[in-house]
Symmetry: C2
Subunit: 346 residues, 2 copies
């Protein structure tokens, strides 16, 4: 029973069946031009008849690249990145690629290790949401060996890789403006992980817009846990310039804030208005529905894959071209957490 190995057909058997040489079969498979149509047809028939499939290992050994693309994200259990992974995979499959997904656990070293591992497996391309903030020549070296790399969500510092980013800054400005237009003047900006590019950009957008409106920015970063948020909130409420609105820098912070606000019996939006960056499944369902700045993981992944497939083609053909940059828009999802549109007394 164990010895039922059904003999996977090789190119050799195809050649025998089609009465041609090995290389003819190889050329048919690789769409080489110089094969007579009649011969091609014979070979193709033999391929179908035997159910032949190329042996990747042998191709790899000959120096070809694998029909795989690698995807590195900071955290696969994050719904946003999971959604990206799903889309990437879907598109990759449609183009005959398998996807090697790994989570870098937000660790720059692990991220590079994984990238190198993928490179050593000869993936055709690499899609990466980096966790490095400092430039890293090591990835560049991989690029120089003919690996196509596209960064998305965050740019690869000091790299000339293609990248697809989101209008983080504009989104933050819109969120801030939204709160201002509801009459708020003391708007706090809360989040963690100031090292992350996206967060950094959002803070910049907030700060810029607050200053432009003549308001004083009030930024609290590094609040990683629910406890951190609780503490900050208690402190903020005790101060004399307590905020009337909060701009939350990301999904997780929004959730913690919701909990902390509920614990303090603060009503949204009456006692505290809230806008959060990142939309999430339940944002429209909770009470009150949360106004968010939505970005589309699907679109992000879609455009990134588009760029990657192009880049793989170019790299394959030995064409060098300047890196592409795509900037995707965000959308303010106005819900109830800032209340109806009205002026509010100081």
């Amino acid at each position: 029973m164990r010895k039922t190995e059904p003999r996977i057909p090789t190119i050799r058997e195809v050649a025998k069946l089609a009465h041609v040489g090995l290389m003819t079969v190889s050329r048919v498979i690789n769409n080489h031009p110089s094969v007579r149509p009649s011969t091609r047809k014979k070979v193709e028939a033999a391929i179908v008849q035997l159910g032949y499939r190329q042996n990747e290992a042998a191709r790899l050994l000959k120096g070809q690249r694998a029909k795989m693309i690698g995807l590195i994200v900071p955290d696969l259990s994050d719904a946003f990145f999971a959604s990206c992974a799903h889309t990437v995979q879907h598109i990759a499959r449609a183009h005959g690629y398998m996807t090697l997904v790994v989570s870098s656990e937000r660790d720059a070293d692990l991220e590079f290790q994984q990238a190198e591992l993928m490179a050593s497996r000869k993936v055709s391309g690499l899609l990466i949401v980096t966790s490095t903030r400092r430039g890293d020549d090591r990835l560049r070296e991989l690029q120089n060996t003919g690996l196509a790399i596209v960064a998305f969500d965050r740019p690869l510092p000091g790299s000339d890789a293609d990248c697809v980013l989101v209008e983080n800054r504009t989104g933050a400005e819109e969120a801030t403006q939204h709160l201002i237009s509801h009459g708020h003047k003391r708007i706090a900006c809360v989040g963690y992980d100031e090292e992350t590019y996206t967060i950094h950009e959002r803070v910049l957008g907030y700060t810029h817009h607050m200053n432009a409106a003549g308001l004083k920015p009030n930024i609290a970063l590094g609040l990683l846990t629910l406890d951190g948020i609780r503490e900050w909130l208690a402190e903020a409420l005790a101060g004399k310039n307590k905020p009337t609105a909060i701009f939350s820098l990301n999904h997780r912070t929004s959730i913690y804030l919701l909990q902390a606000l509920a614990e303090q019996k603060l009503r949204i939006p009456q006692d505290m208005a809230l806008v959060g960056f990142d939309d999430f499944d339940l944002a429209s369902i909770i009470t009150p529905p949360l106004t968010t700045v939505a970005q589309s993981p699907v679109e992000l992944a879609r455009r990134s894959m588009g760029l990657l497939l192009e880049r793989i083609q170019k790299t394959h053909d030995g064409i060098e071209s300047s890196p592409a940059k795509i900037l995707l828009p965000v959308k303010l999802m106005v819900r109830a957490s800032c209340g109806p549109h009205e002026e509010r007394p100081d």
Copy 2:
């Protein structure tokens, strides 16, 4: 610049540096016993000095299995499976395996295609959350070629693969009992996708417990969309035996129900009590916090990987052993969505 190929060292160069034959190096790498310690040391030093790493492609070509494990889930963008994937990957990495994650899009044929693709890439093991309900010999054939397979979350019909399941039935019984103990008699059971094993089991648990308590089951399945839920709810409320409590069969349904109930201005738990199968991030944060039956994706993945690694070892050593079955407990997370514990009049 493009020609900077830094010559990846081969086993041959290691051999030359260590002044030994090729095979000695190969034996050192594969932990063959018959290598003199002094020789081993020499070779290991050379390996470190050159930064040698095995070439997977060549190993594969020689018929070895890849240091990869495959994971097939119905939907990678589902938080539950994303979390599983994350854990699987983490453990796999710790054991030197990369993970090939794919989503089967809940399609049995695609699922098998992906499995075969992975098999042809010679993965060492396959972890699979199946979307088939009917027996499928094809996976069995893969097993017979020496591929270790472990099913989790759902059993592989007609297969003798190891599997790790969750106490779906018991969980549903506990949820039902919880509602009954709050005095509810008219308890509806709502969800979709009756074809799915887990849902089926939960319905069984609910039905069994309702019957045992002398209550009449009220089951609504096939409600895939928010609209479907809305419609069902309106109808249920219009009937004369309108339910006072709902047992939601999964995460998504719970969310839709929350929205539909809010639209109908029904208060939870006063007008309608609710228990949902599957815990989720915001369950404890929304108002009121939702009572759920929690299962742990992390534990599920952990145990499955444990089984898989064992099975890979056994398969490698040619040991056959009867399939293992693990049943994981669930936990009723009592929150506020069923109200305080009290009897309720009919």
